[in-house]
């Protein structure tokens, strides 16, 4: 069977070469544009509004009275509270309660003046962290199951996974106390807030910082290990290196699962320290793997249209990347719905509060429905056909769309915490900060891909990838 697939790779271009300055300049250009646009937005925004939330109103929301917060919460007592059909009724409810001045749940942070950007920054960091985590997962699974087909794509994942260095740098501003306080209510809980005080042993600045450092230590160690050995194999061709990478993998996959789950709890779920979801880590993981494969598809298509990896990566591989994108849109929906379904059915106030905040105003209700259709139904139907996955143009369209809605998904996880979901917080700054990081990320990815072959050319299983054929 294999004998029918002799692929001559000798004429294939597998170095980034002249594409490196191109990618570097494009990334830097995007980043500089993003920085200037953000600065301009900050300067033209009147000091009283926009940036700081909504001035006195914001202060009012964060000024909670711990004791009566639940008693005063009209949603918690409403049996139909979680019914999505009642979303519009809810909005009315919420607005009425808000104008009455008593709708304060109190356990979400309200950023002080000038700290609104931290939220946009968090989304940016988590977005690119999710892609990088996805690439690490790709490498680990490849070795865990001794995959053949993905050998010709693995170097691209290895290069991308080195971006943990960049993300560790980007994390630093978030760890500063004033920025942590802007994000997380557990940094400065109200007196008598028992639900936070019992978690104080886990949710405090020291423990949080140590955990983040530990996650990055694991991620950087694993990504460096796999990348170094793989590059070394390019020179020596020693098959023992493959074995060495494989042996570590069962531990790596456990470490990965634990760190990803807890990182998502820390960075995203603890935005509302009263709320919890045991499936949250998997929800975040689904987004990681999804966004990574979409990113990989675009990267491969870009490289191929510039004459790189034209022989070792075939439409068969594109189809499989497309399958993974398709599969993980479904997986994302499955996990997202599992969380929603149980909370909707149980209708327990401490569980529904998270969704109620996302149904309080029509804008967030519409955003939620947009995710159902834009993040699941549309890509599901679009990516269903084999022909869509095998063609560069259509796969690129699908992958780009997925990368956009993945941002929308993270926005939906983070932003309704602002103003307790009572006011739609979108600002152009949310986009410009994201674009800045995107530019830096593109340049950094190219940095880690340059200098080595884009193909693990002496991997003993490369021939399997070259002979790979979808049945």
């Amino acid at each position: 069977m294999m004998s029918h697939s002799h692929v001559d790779l000798s004429s294939e271009q597998t170095m980034l070469d002249r594409l490196w300055p191109l990618a570097w300049k494009a990334g830097a250009g995007l980043a500089i544009f993003g920085v200037f646009a953000t600065l301009i937005l900050v300067f033209i925004t009147p000091k009283s509004g926009g940036d700081a939330g909504h001035g006195p109103g914001a202060a009012q929301v964060s000024d909670a009275h711990g004791a009566d917060e639940h008693a005063a919460d009209p949603h918690a007592a409403d049996p139909h509270a979680a019914d999505p059909h009642a979303a519009t009724e809810h909005a009315d409810h919420g607005a009425a309660a808000h104008s009455g001045g008593h709708h304060t749940t109190g356990h979400v942070s309200e950023p002080p003046a000038g700290k609104r950007w931290v939220y946009a920054y968090l989304i940016g960091v988590v977005y690119f962290l999710s892609i990088t985590l996805g690439s690490l997962f790709f490498i680990i699974i490849h070795h865990l199951v001794r995959a053949g087909w993905s050998t010709s794509l693995r170097r691209l994942a290895e290069g991308t996974s080195r971006n943990f260095w960049l993300l560790a740098l980007l994390m630093i501003p978030l760890l500063l106390p004033e920025n942590l306080s802007a994000l997380y209510k557990w940094m400065h809980p109200d007196a008598g807030d028992e639900l936070i005080s019992v978690k104080a042993i886990y949710l405090n600045q020291t423990a949080f910082t140590i955990r983040i450092l530990a996650y990055f230590f694991v991620w950087i160690a694993l990504s460096t290990f796999y990348h170094r050995l793989s590059v070394k194999q390019d020179e020596t061709g020693d098959p023992k290196l493959s074995r060495k990478m494989g042996v570590v993998t069962p531990i790596a996959v456990l470490l990965f699962a634990i760190t990803v789950s807890f990182a998502s709890f820390d960075l995203l779920m603890s935005l509302d320290a009263h709320w919890f979801s045991t499936i949250f880590g998997i929800y975040f993981f689904a987004g990681c793997v999804l966004s990574w494969h979409a990113f990989l598809a675009l990267k491969v298509i870009w490289l191929q249209s510039n004459g790189r990896l034209t022989k070792s990566v075939t439409p068969e591989h594109l189809q499989d990347i497309g399958k993974m994108v398709f599969a993980f849109t479904v997986f994302w929906a499955y996990i997202g719905f599992s969380q929603y379904m149980l909370y909707w059915y149980g209708n327990v106030p401490e569980e529904t509060s998270w969704y109620l905040r996302r149904q309080a105003i029509p804008a967030w209700g519409i955003w939620g429905f947009f995710l159902v259709f834009g993040h699941f139904v549309a890509p599901f139907l679009f990516m269903l056909s084999k022909h869509v996955k095998r063609k560069r143009t259509t796969l690129a369209i699908g992958a780009s769309w997925v990368l956009i809605v993945h941002w929308c998904d993270l926005y939906y996880l983070v932003m309704p915490q602002l103003h307790d979901g009572q006011k739609f917080p979108f600002q152009l700054m949310d986009v410009t900060i994201f674009l800045t990081m995107g530019g830096v990320y593109i340049a950094s990815t190219a940095w880690f891909l340059r200098g080595h072959s884009l193909l693990a050319k002496k991997d003993p299983r490369l021939h399997e990838a070259l002979a790979f054929h979808n049945a």
Partner: protein, 180 residues
């Protein structure tokens, strides 16, 4: 091989290797045959292309099955819970989308599988208990270590003598005509 008794219905060519079968299949395809097939002990990647097999319509059966299952799931739950025997459970609406999704999802998968399984059987004309190929002693090796091309009588270019010559010239190690 028994003496010819009836109308010839099949010309069988036996090949020793998958490679020689692949080469021959390409030639048979280019010669314009339409009712013919290859028989191999295991799936051979790329043979479909060499044979010029058109893309299967099976995915449409699966899609149709899936959509039907989804619709049936919602309809069934609406009929049971909201129409035939409405019953208030923990303050939930008698019919609502979130509660209906798990069952509809499972039925979507079940009906998709039905579409794939029964669609495959129907398109292959299965189950079928007899084919003229079974008359050939040598054909038994198609499940072991030999590769066959069979040209059927319903093909417009069916001509036992000419077809046998063709297969021999394409490298068949043995050719035979199977009669009714």
């Amino acid at each position: 091989m028994a003496q010819p008794k009836g109308r010839p219905v099949l010309v069988l060519g036996e090949f020793e290797s998958a490679d020689s079968l692949m080469v021959a299949a390409e030639q048979v395809r280019d010669a314009g045959f339409t009712h013919w097939d290859c028989y191999t002990p295991y799936p051979i990647h790329g043979l479909d292309e060499k044979m010029g097999v058109k893309a299967t319509a099976l995915p449409w059966f699966v899609l149709g099955g899936g959509l039907t299952g989804c619709f049936v799931g919602f309809l069934m739950q609406w009929f049971m819970n909201a129409f035939d025997y409405p019953f208030m459970i923990s303050g939930k609406p008698t019919w609502s989308v979130p509660a209906n999704i798990p069952v509809s999802f499972e039925l979507t998968i079940l009906f998709s599988a039905f579409g794939a399984f029964f669609g495959m059987l129907a398109m292959n004309g299965l189950p079928r208990f007899y084919r003229p190929h079974f008359r050939s002693e040598r054909f038994r090796r198609a499940t072991n270590d030999r590769y066959f091309i069979g040209i059927e009588a319903r093909d417009r270019s069916f001509d036992p003598a000419k077809n046998q010559d063709l297969l021999s010239s394409l490298g068949a190690s043995h050719v035979e005509v199977v009669e009714e």
